[in-house]
């Protein structure tokens, strides 16, 4: 009864077959339980366990009290769930003499990541736009150097940048670190934006020029509104990349301005005091939380960011 009703209603809907009735397209696995399938899903399942295990261990350990951790099995679920390690990791964990927990590193990372993401994307998008639509003599040469620069190990440029920042009076400041992130984000982001803007039909650009729009007018009124997805991709690349940075943070800032990754490492690998593994794991999770949220929230766009990054290589 229900079936015919559904069909009738579908028929009424102006002859078009609703998508859900047209059925799945493409080949389907013929039999659910076959030897091939058991091997296939079995392998996938085992691999999935391997990939999920560290996350599971992290969470489980961070919810146990120290006596229970010492008892011994890192894989066993907590008998008594406690959030104390999380509180301690956030507010009172020590690095050397300083016992403010991770919170300071978290806010430092926020103060580093937000301006770095905005500045690097603003500069790279305008630059990519200039390269795609307003080519000038020599532009390609500089762009080639920029892309080659992406392959140079950072260690080669570490010290010259120290000198540059010192000359500008920015060595050891957050502003300096923001500039460093902007510089090192430039190759991949410029490439990303240049390729994207090149794919926008040129007629649009020409029509705007005929209507009297200039460099900035076209950028803000046409290019920017048309390319919001690519801006999101760029944001994903930059937020995860800058949040996860360790090397630049440790080289270009002072201890009280260290980003979260550096502080996390100092807390966990500090040689003083008794090792509190549950607090360490809570701190590790908290640090990984921001990129994880970005990853799970962005889904397919994250993969697209990776594909963009792959073009770099």
């Amino acid at each position: 009864m229900a079936d015919t009703g559904a069909l009738n209603r579908a028929g009424v809907a102006a002859g078009t077959i609703p998508r859900e009735l047209s059925g799945p397209r493409g080949a389907r696995p013929r039999r659910i339980v076959s030897r091939g399938n058991i091997i296939l899903y079995g392998t996938l399942f085992v691999m999935a366990v391997y990939y999920l295990l560290p996350l599971y261990v992290m969470v489980v350990t961070s919810l146990k009290g120290m006596p229970e951790v010492r008892l011994g099995n890192i894989f066993s679920p907590p008998m008594e769930i406690t959030f104390e390690p999380w509180v301690k990791a956030w507010a009172t964990a020590c690095t050397g003499l300083n016992c403010e927990g991770l919170s300071r590193g978290f806010w430092n990372s926020v103060r580093i990541t937000v301006p770095s993401v905005i500045l690097s994307i603003a500069i790279a998008s305008i630059n990519g736009y200039a390269l795609a639509n307003w080519r000038f003599k020599g532009a390609n040469l500089f762009f080639t150097i920029l892309i080659i620069g992406a392959f140079i190990p950072y260690q080669v440029m570490l010290y010259p940048i120290v000198i540059l920042l010192r000359e500008m009076g920015l060595y050891g400041s957050l502003t300096g670190l923001v500039l460093v992130h902007t510089v090192f984000g430039m190759p991949i982001l410029t490439l990303l934006f240049r390729n994207y803007f090149s794919s926008i039909p040129e007629e649009l650009f020409k029509a705007a020029r005929v209507d009297g729009a200039g460099f900035w007018g076209i950028y803000f009124k046409i290019m920017l509104p048309m390319s919001l997805p690519i801006f999101v991709v760029a944001m994903i690349i930059q937020i995860t990349g800058i949040w996860n940075d360790f090397l630049f943070g440790v080289v270009y800032t002072k201890p009280d301005l260290y980003p979260m990754t550096v502080q996390l490492n100092n807390i966990v690998n500090s040689v003083q005091g008794v090792k509190e593994y549950n607090v360490n794991m809570a701190a590790t999770i908290i640090t990984g939380l921001v990129p994880l949220i970005v990853y799970f929230a962005s889904g397919k766009l994250f993969v697209r960011g990776i594909a963009a990054g792959a073009v770099k290589g």
Partner: protein, 298 residues
């Protein structure tokens, strides 16, 4: 248009040039300038501060007679070889499995890729905990009854680099899998049909037909992995701090320590120049194949 541009070539397209100033600065001053500066100063005896007293190749001679550097290079070779082989093989197998029109493909992909969103610091610390002999895998297996079981890579100088390799593979094979999957999806369905009609077994189709067809993807993956290998630094810092002793030192860490804690800039510059050299060995042939080759074919 032509008349307008006559007065001065420099001011033509002025806004675009202004917009490109950050790029020009980055490319010329930071990337090119910085690199040349470091190479130049690697021939001096700079200590706490850079200074222009040339000593020829003395820094390099010293570098290559320092045990710590030699261990770093050896580690980089083992780590690099392991990364290349396992990332490519595991990445490809995972991609091939996901490409079998399976259910829950998105779920599996999400699971394999999420470690890539985490930093090397987080990765290193988690694996430090899992591989901890007192509490981690070794202890769990012993509790299950296998009393003599030994698996303590992070405390054993002979195998510590493999402990780091396990963590690095966990973090980055998802990326390679994603690239491979994109490559597999780009392959024409008809090839599969033709292979099936000819009765070629699946693994043979993959090995003899699909893999050769995916050569560009493999090369891209190879370049990405290779540049990542040379850069490995934070993972080692977090997981072992170079220990036990100096058993898990890597070149990038040598550079950092020489520059910023040993006040031996000259050594740092020489070591980083060697790192640059190792990247060029990979990148130049690739760039030649990728771009030089294209030009030749028109």
């Amino acid at each position: 248009m032509t008349q307008q541009s006559r007065p001065n070539q420099l001011f033509r397209n002025l806004h675009a040039k202004i917009a490109a100033i950050p790029m020009i600065f980055t490319a010329v001053v930071v990337f090119a300038g910085g690199t040349l500066w470091t190479i130049f100063y690697s021939f001096t005896d700079s200590g706490l501060l850079p200074r222009l007293k040339f000593v020829g190749l003395a820094q390099y001679e010293r570098l290559w007679s320092t045990p710590r550097w030699l261990i770093s290079i050896e580690n980089l070779f083992i780590y690099g070889l392991g990364m290349l082989v396992f990332s490519l093989v595991v990445g490809f197998i995972l991609a091939a499995l996901l490409d079998q029109k399976i259910r829950f493909e998105n779920t599996f992909r999400t699971i394999f890729l999420y470690p890539f969103a985490l930093s090397f610091i987080v990765t290193g610390l988690v694996w430090q905990w899992i591989l901890n002999p007192e509490f981690g895998i070794q202890n769990v297996v012993r509790q299950m009854g296998w009393e003599s079981f030994a698996f303590d890579p992070l405390y054993n100088p002979d195998i510590v680099i493999y402990g780091i390799l396990i963590a690095a593979l966990w973090q980055s094979t998802g990326l390679i899998m994603c690239l491979m999957l994109a490559g597999l999806r780009g392959i024409d369905e008809d090839i599969w049909k033709a292979a099936r009609i000819d009765g070629i077994p699946m693994w043979k189709t993959y090995l003899l037909i699909i893999v050769p067809m995916m050569k560009p993807v493999f090369i891209t993956a190879l370049v990405i992995i290779a540049t990542g290998i040379v850069r490995v630094y934070d993972l080692v810092v977090a997981q072992t701090s170079g220990g036990p002793g100096i058993a898990s030192e890597v070149p990038a860490k040598y550079v950092y320590d020489m520059m910023f804690s040993s006040q031996n800039l000259g050594q740092g510059f020489a070591a980083s120049t060697m790192m640059l050299l190792s990247v060029l060995i990979v990148v130049i042939p690739w760039a030649y194949l990728e771009f030089g080759g294209k030009k030749r074919h028109g």
